[in-house]
């Protein structure tokens, strides 16, 4: 069977800006996939091409094996997109919005499923409220519900937690995780890297329209050997360590280590210098470090 998403040599230019340049990407069925990159990296353009909102200049894209251009009806039925902006139609209630969205996908009498989606998103009490009267968080839930009305196997979330409070963000991730466990393929873009690290099995990093990193989250983090040892000592550090150490705001010093074995040699030097340790913390690299390192490397 083909992948949930296949992107082959996709390029897109907007005037003088090369939004995407020969992007190749494959997302497996049932995967929780992260698409990361700074603003303007091409994440939304790539999502828009998958959703048929933008047409690629060259290359091909498929959703569940269906070409997004030549077999667009099947491709769009297989895809649910939660857009980045909080958009809504002010003429309709929540229930009408979801019924209309179902109808666009050719689904009539979708009431039971709409009720269920609303219940899961805690929207039932707002079912007959006009969209204009909802809070930002509620509107965001309706956008998620709209993406689910046609039961798509692939769900794309374009920065769904931007500007969302912590409570809603956590509840949203719990819900999305359940969808993934139920078999849905999830593609996520976010600027919250800790979210991507905890949720995504694989991650692609985009920069200036090109894929600059693509691997499992674990491998990406492993790839970076920069442990950080933070120390606060009673006396100044020995010269050999001091020249490598970086002074940070709270007055402590941070040493960059390539591997855990180096910790022992640092401690030995401190013992030799009779330097008493008041505080010590060993921090592992995280996705943010990988992201920054990758983006700086690709400058």
């Amino acid at each position: 069977m083909s992948a949930a998403i296949e992107v082959r040599q996709v390029s897109k230019r907007f005037g003088s800006v090369q939004a995407l340049e020969r992007v190749d990407l494959e997302v497996g069925k049932g995967e929780f996939f992260g698409l990361l990159g700074p603003n303007g990296a091409g994440k939304t353009t790539l999502i828009n091409i998958l959703a048929g909102l933008t047409r690629a200049d060259s290359g091909s894209a498929r959703v569940m094996g269906f070409d997004v251009a030549s077999d667009y009806r099947a491709a769009r039925r297989a895809l649910g997109v939660v857009p980045q902006e909080l958009v809504f139609d002010p003429f309709f209630t929540v229930r009408e919005t979801l019924a209309i969205q179902s109808g666009y996908f050719g689904i009539r009498n979708n009431g039971p499923w709409i009720d269920e989606v609303m219940a899961n998103l805690d929207l039932t009490s707002k079912a007959d409220a006009n969209m204009r009267s909802l809070s930002g968080g509620m509107k965001r839930r309706v956008l998620v519900a709209q993406a689910l009305v046609h039961k798509p196997p692939v769900i794309v979330l374009d920065e769904p937690t931007a500007g969302v409070d912590v409570e809603l963000r956590q509840a949203l991730w719990l819900f999305i995780r359940r969808l993934n466990e139920a078999g849905h393929t999830i593609v996520l873009t976010t600027h919250y890297l800790e979210e991507a690290e905890s949720l995504c099995q694989r991650i692609a990093m985009l920069k200036l329209g090109r894929v600059v990193a693509l691997d499992t989250t674990v491998n990406l983090v492993r790839r970076l050997h920069n442990l950080r040892l933070r120390l606060r000592t009673s006396q100044p550090l020995p010269a050999a360590l001091a020249e490598r150490a970086q002074l940070i705001a709270d007055g402590s010093r941070v040493l960059a280590l390539r591997e855990y074995g180096e910790v022992e040699s640092v401690l030995a030097r401190l013992r030799e210098a009779k330097c008493h340790i008041e505080e010590m913390e060993l921090a592992q690299p995280d996705l943010e470090d990988v992201f920054l390192e990758t983006m700086n490397r690709e400058r």
Binding site: G30, R55, R73, D89, G106, P153, E167, A171, R178, G183
Partner: protein
């Protein structure tokens, strides 16, 4: 209960039950069945609902405005004037005003709906589903026709008790009303696709649609114009719509209705082809 209830549902495993086709098991093909209905009826229904929810503004107000035209023009113009022999000026005026309001509201419906969707971003809800370009065209244009007919019928119903009016050829009335409102509905789509701002749609309406309708013989027979302006009127497609529509009422017109309908049909074909091409290419919509 806000997020708590949500989390409780999620924790209880109530999200997307495994028996739901294509959800618990995407492999079942919930997203790719080819046997579903199209989204056209829903888009059409939604477009009708959209203007009906604000019917005071979209239907009642244009009816009132048109009645004011009728009262003012019917009062100030020469009451003894006769058109086509025995037709009084007020009787002559009514079909013209009905058709004018029908055309203007058909244009207003499709242009305002698409433009609002573009500007607010909710056009995405129409572009994401598997709707073909011809389905978008048919739904927006048919909804424009429905609104045009509602306003036109409203004007007719309100004026009939005061102005005796017979319909000699109802099929011509229907044919010109249908073709005219469809053309203006399609022009509304073209204006909204081309425009980047609301005032550009307003400019299209004020500098093109309004002059074409006002200078189309709504308030006069073109035979009352100097020869030069009669010739100029023949280049205005709205003239043929109103003249043919009037023929349906009086059995008399400035131009043979068959010739008039041929012009209208060619205009409809041209505007339809242009709109479909724009929608198919995704011009200013899918970029």
């Amino acid at each position: 209960m806000s997020a708590e209830g949500w989390e409780k549902n999620a924790a209880a495993g109530k999200i997307l039950p495994p028996e739901a086709p294509g959800c618990g098991s995407p492999a079942l093909g919930g997203g790719s069945s080819g046997a579903r209905m199209t989204g056209f009826p829903t888009l059409f229904h939604k477009e009708v609902l959209r203007f009906w929810k604000v019917a005071l503004q979209t239907v009642a107000a244009p009816v009132l405005t048109t009645l004011l035209y009728l009262i003012i023009f019917g009062h100030v113009m020469d009451r003894s004037a006769r058109m086509y022999g025995e037709v009084s000026y007020v009787q002559f005026l009514v079909p013209g005003l009905v058709m004018m309001s029908l055309l203007q509201n058909a244009f207003a419906n499709s242009s305002s709906s698409l433009m609002q969707s573009k500007m607010t971003g909710n056009i995405i809800f129409v572009l994401l589903p598997p709707l073909a370009h011809w389905e978008l065209f048919a739904a927006y244009v048919l909804a424009a026709v429905v609104r045009g007919f509602m306003v036109g019928a409203g004007v007719l119903v309100v004026t009939l008790p005061f102005v005796g009016l017979d319909v000699q050829h109802p099929l011509w009335v229907l044919a010109f009303a249908l073709a005219g409102s469809a053309i203006l509905g399609a022009l509304g789509l073209i204006a909204a696709i081309l425009a980047d701002k609301f005032d550009q749609v307003a400019a299209f309406q004020n500098f093109l649609i309004m002059p074409l309708t006002f200078l189309s013989g709504v308030f006069y027979s073109i035979h009352s114009l100097p020869e030069f302006w009669q010739d100029v009127s023949h280049f205005n497609p709205v003239f043929y719509m109103i003249d043919g529509f009037r023929y349906g009422f009086f059995g008399a017109s400035d131009v043979d209705p068959l010739r008039g309908f041929a012009v209208v049909a060619v205009c409809f074909a041209a505007v339809t082809a242009l709109t479909l091409a724009m929608l198919k290419s995704g011009y200013k919509l899918r970029n």
